[in-house]
Structures are given as structure tokens and as C-alpha cells.
């Protein structure tokens, strides 16, 4: 059975959940191999084996983070050459897609982004036009490179062989054309990332003010959720731009999405419509968001959300 490469997402020594989802998917397509780039510890390699990787390709070094994506492309290309893999799966995050894009050009391969599933023969499923249409796409040239959305498949860890292969990577001068001089963290620690979170609680214009987002954050924290926002809220400066959900923001596909004070404009729906379960709180019974919901409450979020937070906290205690 041919190998299927999975580009590992990791931070501060921890493997991100999406990696285990992709390893699960890879197992249905061939022999799952992980490619891990950057600061690689033995623990990291061990957890990839536990997550199902039969082979773990390692490109270890501190330089990978110093330049925008290109050195990682070179490492992934080295893994592809070493493995002769039948396909490559990357997480459909901003960086994952850029790595996939450059790898496709370098290796003369087709690329598919934002897949929500991959069938035998690397036929990708994509959910387009705000979730109204399901498309099957395939790659006709080179090695299929497919960027898969986090939360598209449930991770089913199964112990892999975990054979470690250290890659021989030559980072080129062209890979070093950019220099990352500083990293600035703005996100509050402790909350899951918007892309990956199993639950997203988001707020829109109905939240009313920057201070209003405190009730959204409290609900999110009671559920262990990420916080999202509509563009009306980010444009008003009530919540940082990187948390915007929608057509010009992030696309999320969590198990549960709770929209508070969000009307449900088509551009917002484009970013959350594939969520498994949707709840909305809105004082306007005609708000289009109610067309999507599994459960909705018509009323004032400033009363409903704090009550919900209290209930969640009580029931979880």
C-alpha cells in the first residue's frame, strides 16, 4: 500500500488535533505517514506514532520558522521524494494552503483546497457556495495535494509503527528571501484556536459594544470554546479582525456553533454553514440565521447568554 503524507501542525511541543484527523483520513487512503518540521522533540514523534503514523519523517531545525513558508515546502518536498507517497494531506489553514500551493507548483501537481472529505483515489469532497452545493474534485497531474478543513473527520487514533526517518533537507537561498523579525501574540492564552475548536461561540452587531463581548467570552470559556465574530463586530473594532468568521474571514466547521446577535448574512454563513449543530440567539424572529439553526431563541442576548453561561457552568460542575 502506498504511503500518504500528512503535514503535521504543532506548536510548543504539542501536536494539533487536525493532525490526528488527517492521519485518520490518510489511513483510509493508504499507509499514513507524518511529516513534522521545525522544533521536533522525541515526545512529538511518539505522539504521532500513537496517533497512527507508521512512518514519521522529521525535518528538524530552528530555521524553518525564520522565513515565510518556503523552507517548509522544501522539507515537505524532500519527504515526498523519500516516500514516493501517493498523496499529500495538509490542514486547510492559511499557512497549510500556502505550503500546498508552492509544493504543487514545484512538483507539477494539482491542488485541491478546503476539502471536507477525501474518498478512495483521492477524490476530494468540497462544500461550496455557503454549503449549498457538494462538489467532487480530483487531481489529474502529479501527486494529489489536498488541503482538508479541520473538524471534517473525527480523529480515531490507532497506534502506528512510528518508524522515524530523518530527512536530509537543503534549504536554499530562494527559500530565505523573507525574514521573520518578530512574532507578536495577541490572542488570549487558554482558548482553543478558531480553526480547530470543536465549539465556536460568536457575536455580531447585536452584542452592541466591545464590553459586550465579555458575555460572549464567558459563555465560550464555560464551554471550552473559541470566540468568533461577524464582520459587523470586527469592522466596528469590538473584536480583533483575526476572529472574523465568514467569506472574508475564517471558515469554521465545528461540532457546535452558537451565533449571538448575528443576522446570518450570506457572507457570514459562508464561513460557518458546515457546522454540525447550529444555535442562534437573536431578537428578530425574521433573522435569516434562524433558517439554519437546530435550535434558536428569539430574545435579548444580554439576558439569555449570561443565563446560559450560568446553566452550563452549573451543569458541568
Amino acid at each position: 500500500m502506498a504511503e500518504v503524507l500528512v503535514l503535521v501542525e504543532h506548536a510548543s511541543g504539542d501536536v494539533k488535533k487536525v493532525t490526528f484527523e488527517l492521519l485518520t483520513l490518510a489511513r483510509s487512503l493508504g499507509e499514513p505517514s507524518a511529516v513534522v518540521i521545525g522544533d521536533v522533540t522525541d515526545d512529538l514523534v511518539a505522539s504521532l506514532a500513537d496517533g497512527g503514523a507508521d512512518t514519521v519523517y522529521v525535518a528538524s531545525g530552528s530555521e524553518y520558522g525564520d522565513h515565510v513558508v518556503a523552507p517548509k515546502v522544501t522539507a515537505l518536498q524532500a519527504a515526498l521524494a523519500a516516500s514516493g507517497a501517493a498523496g499529500v494531506l495538509v490542514p486547510a489553514t492559511a499557512e497549510g494552503k500556502e505550503i500546498a500551493a508552492r509544493l504543487a507548483v514545484r512538483t507539477g501537481s494539482g491542488i485541491i483546497t478546503d476539502a471536507v472529505g477525501v474518498d478512495a483515489g483521492f477524490v476530494a469532497q468540497q462544500s461550496v457556495f455557503g454549503g449549498s452545493t457538494l462538489v467532487h474534485s480530483a487531481v489529474s497531474t502529479g501527486t494529489p495535494i489536498i488541503a482538508v478543513r479541520p473538524n471534517s473527520v473525527a480523529a480515531e487514533p490507532s497506534s502506528g509503527v512510528g518508524r522515524r526517518v530523518d530527512l536530509d533537507v537543503t534549504v536554499t537561498d530562494t527559500d530565505r528571501l523573507t525574514t521573520v523579525t518578530e512574532r507578536v501574540a495577541q490572542q488570549k492564552a487558554g482558548r482553543p484556536e478558531l480553526n480547530e475548536a470543536a465549539i465556536v461561540v460568536s457575536g455580531g452587531r447585536g452584542v452592541g459594544s466591545p464590553e459586550g463581548f465579555a458575555v460572549i467570552e464567558s459563555l465560550a470559556d464555560s464551554l471550552g470554546a473559541a470566540v468568533g465574530a461577524s464582520r459587523a463586530a470586527t469592522d466596528a473594532g469590538w473584536y480583533p479582525h483575526q476572529f472574523q468568521v465568514g467569506q472574508t474571514g475564517k471558515t469554521v466547521s465545528p461540532q457546535l456553533y452558537i451565533a449571538n446577535g448575528i443576522s446570518g448574512a450570506i457572507q457570514h454563513r459562508a464561513g460557518m454553514q458546515t457546522s454540525k449543530t447550529i444555535i442562534a440567539v437573536n431578537k428578530d424572529p425574521e433573522a435569516p440565521i434562524f433558517d439554519l439553526v437546530d435550535f434558536g431563541v428569539v430574545g435579548d442576548l444580554h439576558a439569555i447568554v449570561p443565563q446560559l453561561t450560568e446553566e452550563v457552568t452549573r451543569r458541568r460542575a
Binding site: A94, R102, I111, T133, L134, S137, D291
Partner: protein, 267 residues
């Protein structure tokens, strides 16, 4: 300083979008066409850079698009906003190109125009791939400075340098490179201007060069549906979501949601 802004014409995001049953490509006639919104931010950024550098004597802004006849409208929009001239790559063979093929055409046009700076949107609202800027950097061997929330240019030094804030999940990275470079922008970077009446009148006299694949030396077989390395095989409408339960708050709305969450085993 020479800046080229890549703009794409897309269906208006308010419109219902459809795929063509004959060849599985986007039905571009079914919806009103507009400039990809993020590309307006790229045009605005180019215009602001030109102003900072001292105006038209120090810097020119060219709007570049690859697309069918109608796509000239998106070049016009850029000229109305204040760009100096335009380039429209048009060829029947391009119809159906995927991102890999589109980036090949754009790269050839960029090599020909040889700008110091390429500015683009970080994502198109129709394809939503966010890959063309990275592909263009790869193909032209230029540094990739993508997802910029802020752009600073030092054109006085030689070679000039560009520094951006690259927006990330956790905040941003500061990234630097030498010119010539490829930069893509996110929407928080600026507030695009509306074309003024004067701008609309002036745009009518601004030159737009039309280029074919032959002019660019790109093989027709390398683009379009045949030259694309990925393709849509089939598509189907998804069943609409089953209607859910909507209740009106009677002082217990939060508790009702909690009951639903408990029943669904979220809590």
C-alpha cells in the same frame, strides 16, 4: 517604483452562485460581476504607497487582470480609483483554468511588466483558495509577503525593502524582504476609496493594454480546462438543513438552550 496590482473579477457575493452543468465551471453570467473585494484593498494600498513616495513622478500603479471580456470592468474600477494604467490578459484558451494555471499566466505577465512590487488580495471571494499569491511568489522567485495587515516600503535604499505585518492566528509576524516582492493584503489594512466623478472621467482616457497567451509566450495547452491539474468531476445540491426548533424567550431562554445542549450531550 513600479507597482502592479492583480485584480480578479468575481460574482457578487450577494448573488446565488451556480456551476455550469456542461463543463462544471462557475456560471459567470448567472450573477453580477464585481471586483474581488480584497483586491480593492490592494489597489488602495498601492495608491497610498504612490502618495507616500511623492506621486506619479516617483511611482506608477498598473492594474492587471486575467479573465474574459467582461473582466475589463475590474481594470476600469482600478483606473477610476486612481491607478495609472491597466493590462488585461484575455484568451479563449484560459476559460476553466484552475489556480495553478492562472498563476502561470499571471507569472508570465509579471515577468513582462517587471514591477518592483506586486500587490494582491489574499483571497478571492469565489474560489476562496488563498493560494495564487504564494504560487506567484514561487513561480517568479520573488519573496512572499502574504496576509499583510500593514505594509511599509523603504524605496530610498537600494535595493528597496518592504516590511509587513503578516496576520496569523495568534496575532502577527513582522516579515521583511528586498524588492522586487509579492505582497497580499487583508481587509483590515485600509479603507478603499470610492471613485470620484473626476476619477471616473479620467479613467476613460487611461491606457489599457490587451495581451493574449501568444503575447506572453504561454502555451494554450498549459492553461484552461485541459491544462489545469485539478478539476471538478461532479456536483450536486445539498439537501437544505432540516428546520430546527425556534422558541421565544420567556425569561428561561438560556435554560432552554442549556437543555438542548444537555440533550445533545454537549454538556
Amino acid at each position: 517604483m513600479k507597482i502592479v496590482v492583480c485584480v480578479k473579477q468575481v460574482p457578487d457575493s450577494w448573488a446565488e452562485k451556480k456551476l455550469n452543468p456542461t463543463d462544471n465551471t462557475l456560471d459567470r453570467d448567472a450573477a453580477d460581476a464585481v471586483v474581488n473585494e480584497l483586491d480593492e484593498y490592494a489597489i488602495e494600498e498601492a495608491l497610498q504607497i504612490r502618495e507616500r513616495l511623492g506621486g506619479a513622478d516617483a511611482c506608477t500603479v498598473t492594474v492587471l487582470t486575467v479573465g474574459p471580456e467582461k473582466a475589463i470592468e475590474s481594470v476600469r474600477k482600478g483606473l477610476q480609483m486612481g491607478a495609472d494604467d491597466g493590462v488585461h490578459v484575455i484568451d479563449d484558451a484560459i476559460h476553466g483554468s484552475d489556480a495553478v494555471a492562472t498563476s502561470a499566466v499571471l507569472a508570465s505577465a509579471i515577468e513582462r511588466l517587471a514591477p518592483d512590487l506586486v500587490l494582491m488580495g489574499s483571497e478571492s471571494t469565489d474560489a476562496r483558495m488563498s493560494v495564487v499569491p504564494a504560487m506567484l511568489a514561487e513561480r517568479t522567485g520573488r519573496p512572499q509577503l502574504t496576509f499583510a495587515g500593514k505594509v511599509e516600503l523603504d524605496a530610498a535604499s537600494s535595493p528597496g525593502t518592504v516590511r509587513i505585518q503578516r496576520v496569523t492566528d495568534y496575532g502577527y509576524d513582522v516579515v521583511e524582504a528586498q524588492l522586487p516582492a509579492v505582497v497580499s493584503v487583508v481587509e483590515k489594512i485600509n479603507e478603499p476609496r470610492y471613485p470620484s466623478f473626476k476619477g471616473i472621467m479620467a479613467a476613460k482616457k487611461k491606457p489599457v493594454e490587451t495581451l493574449s497567451l501568444t503575447d506572453l509566450g504561454v502555451e494554450a495547452a498549459a492553461v484552461g480546462l485541459t491544462g489545469s491539474w485539478s478539476s471538478v468531476q461532479d456536483f450536486a445540491a445539498r439537501p437544505p438543513r432540516a428546520a430546527g426548533t425556534v422558541v421565544t424567550d420567556a425569561g428561561d431562554g438560556g435554560t432552554k438552550v442549556a437543555d438542548f445542549l444537555s440533550a445533545q450531550k454537549f454538556i
